[in-house]
């Protein structure tokens, strides 16, 4: 009896803890968006963040996109060759990238490169009292540290996703057409015939929502980082893991709604 009671007590306190954390997260993002609209601050803060999240992620995005496209080209070719439909390779590569792999892999790359840095930066500012220093100057920390990052991620992710798609399609082209001998005309014409605006839109909506998830989770974890270097390192790990998992889970739900 005692064990059962302890189990339910534990379950209850865990549930309260989770609900409280979710509530805090919701208030956090709503306040960040409110500040972004009401008091957006100088554009330079936003441009700096777009540069950090977007431009500085270009290399890793192009690298992963080209190899993703190439492996899709390779796998797609040998699978399609079994049915004598190698000409469909362009459509397979493009649809896989635009609908699914582009937004998801771009988001995971940005999480690893920029998301972790965002959490660490905000966390260090917190433990060294730099956030408190802003408050004592009667300045709103969200205006300088959180809102520009959230808006920048909403802008940068779709752009990075578009670049990922284009580079990936080119990677598939190099392997399929240049190495394996698929007809270049067929590669592009099948792509044009199969890809619809709906596919592009779904990729765009996904990448915007992933941008929101990454910036939200990473800023939140940094802002509420624990004490010392260990607290920041734990927050960074949690931010990367949670962002990545949420991106994949949210991707499934979005796909099931938009298909």
């Amino acid at each position: 009896m005692q064990t059962v009671r302890l189990f339910f007590e534990k379950l209850g306190s865990m549930t309260i803890l989770v609900i409280r954390e979710m509530g805090r997260m919701l208030i956090f993002i709503l306040y960040a968006l409110y500040i972004a609209v009401r008091d957006p601050g100088k554009p330079i803060h936003l441009f700096k963040q777009i540069h950090f999240i977007g431009a500085k992620s270009l290399f890793v995005i192009c690298l992963t996109a080209s190899f993703t496209g190439m492996v899709l080209g390779l796998q797609g070719y040998y699978t399609l060759a079994k049915f004598g439909s190698e000409g469909m390779l362009g459509a397979v590569v493009a649809l896989s990238l635009i609908r699914e792999l582009g937004p998801v892999l771009a988001a995971l790359m940005v999480t690893g490169r920029a998301g972790s840095a965002i959490t660490a930066e905000i966390g260090i500012k917190k433990i060294t009292e730099q956030i408190d220093a802003l408050k004592t100057m009667a300045l709103e920390p969200f205006k300088y540290l959180i809102s520009p990052k959230v808006i920048a991620a909403l802008i940068a992710l779709p752009l990075l996703c578009a670049i990922f798609d284009v580079v990936g399609i080119f990677g598939g082209y190099v392997v399929g057409v240049k190495l394996l001998g698929v007809n270049p005309g067929a590669y592009f014409s099948e792509m044009e015939r199969s890809v619809e605006w709906k596919d592009v839109w779904s990729g765009f909506i996904k990448s915007v929502s992933f941008g929101c998830i990454i910036s939200w989770v990473c800023c939140f974890k940094g802002y509420y980082a624990g004490h010392g270097a260990e607290g920041v390192s734990r927050a960074t790990t949690e931010a990367v893991v949670m962002s990545s998992v949420l991106v994949l889970v949210w991707d499934y739900f979005l796909t099931s709604v938009m298909l």
């Binding site: 500012k125 060294t128 009292e129 408190d132 009667a138 300045l139």
Partner: protein
């Protein structure tokens, strides 16, 4: 005037401030002394609304800041400047950018005016040719002086100093104290200094309050505190190992 009434603050089960009441006189330098870990910095953070008490009221010029919304609190904070224990300089900005930041964000001064004001402020705290240095290139004393320049720049009516001389050598320590005294004489702000520097802190303070076990156990002029018969105060200012304060 800053007035704290029956402040209670606990972290988990540890009581840090226990029905603490304190009045800080306007235009004077008040030092808060007490053993390490007694909640002096926590007390300071309550005065500027960085922490909220579990119970009790904090009045700034008659307004209770514990019930204020964010924007109302920001309005009250316009009256404050604060020098943090580790200076809390923005680590990705140069010294110039650090000091200029509040001016750029809160005033409509031109670039030239900001540059002149920043140079004046840095010169006032005895710093020259450090504009382009980053905080991690500065010594502890220099960081504190940059922090002081930043805190003074908007001419606040109240300045809170959180251990402004901890970790500095005796000469720099004295120089910082003198700087606080001189700027106070010049600008006439209300100052609250959290410090362990006994007896140096008595030279610059108008009032001294002793914090022990979450309460102000004695407050008076430096002379009164030095003549106090309270065993805790006596042990603390003499640095004796024998007495009611247990360290281990």
């Amino acid at each position: 005037m800053i007035k704290l009434v029956d402040i209670e603050k606990s972290f988990d089960s540890q009581v840090v401030l226990n029905r603490l009441s304190l009045e800080i006189p306007t235009g004077k330098i008040t030092a808060v002394i007490g053993p390490s870990g007694e909640g002096k910095s926590v007390l300071l953070k309550h005065m500027i609304g960085l922490m909220k008490p579990d119970r009790g009221k904090v009045y700034i010029d008659g307004d209770d800041i514990t019930v204020m919304r964010r924007w109302e609190l920001n309005h009250v904070r316009e009256k404050f400047g604060m020098l943090f224990q580790n200076a809390a300089l923005f680590d990705s900005m140069t010294v110039f950018e650090n000091v200029a930041f509040p001016l750029e964000e809160k005033t409509r001064l031109s670039r030239v005016e900001i540059r002149d004001k920043v140079h004046d402020a840095l010169e006032h705290v005895g710093l020259k040719s450090v504009d382009k240095k980053y905080p991690d290139e500065l010594s502890g004393g220099m960081k504190k002086r940059v922090g002081l320049a930043r805190a003074l720049l908007l001419n606040p009516r109240i300045i809170l100093f959180d251990e402004p001389t901890t970790g500095l050598d005796p000469i720099i320590c004295r120089a910082i104290h003198q700087l606080i005294k001189d700027t106070h004489t010049q600008f006439g702000f209300t100052a609250v200094i959290v410090s362990h520097e006994i007896p140096e802190i008595f030279d610059i303070s108008d009032n001294v309050a002793m914090l022990y076990k979450g309460q102000i156990i004695e407050m008076g002029t430096p002379d009164e505190i030095q003549r106090s018969e309270h065993p805790v105060v006596r042990q603390f200012i003499t640095g004796s190992l024998e007495g009611p304060i247990h360290f281990i």
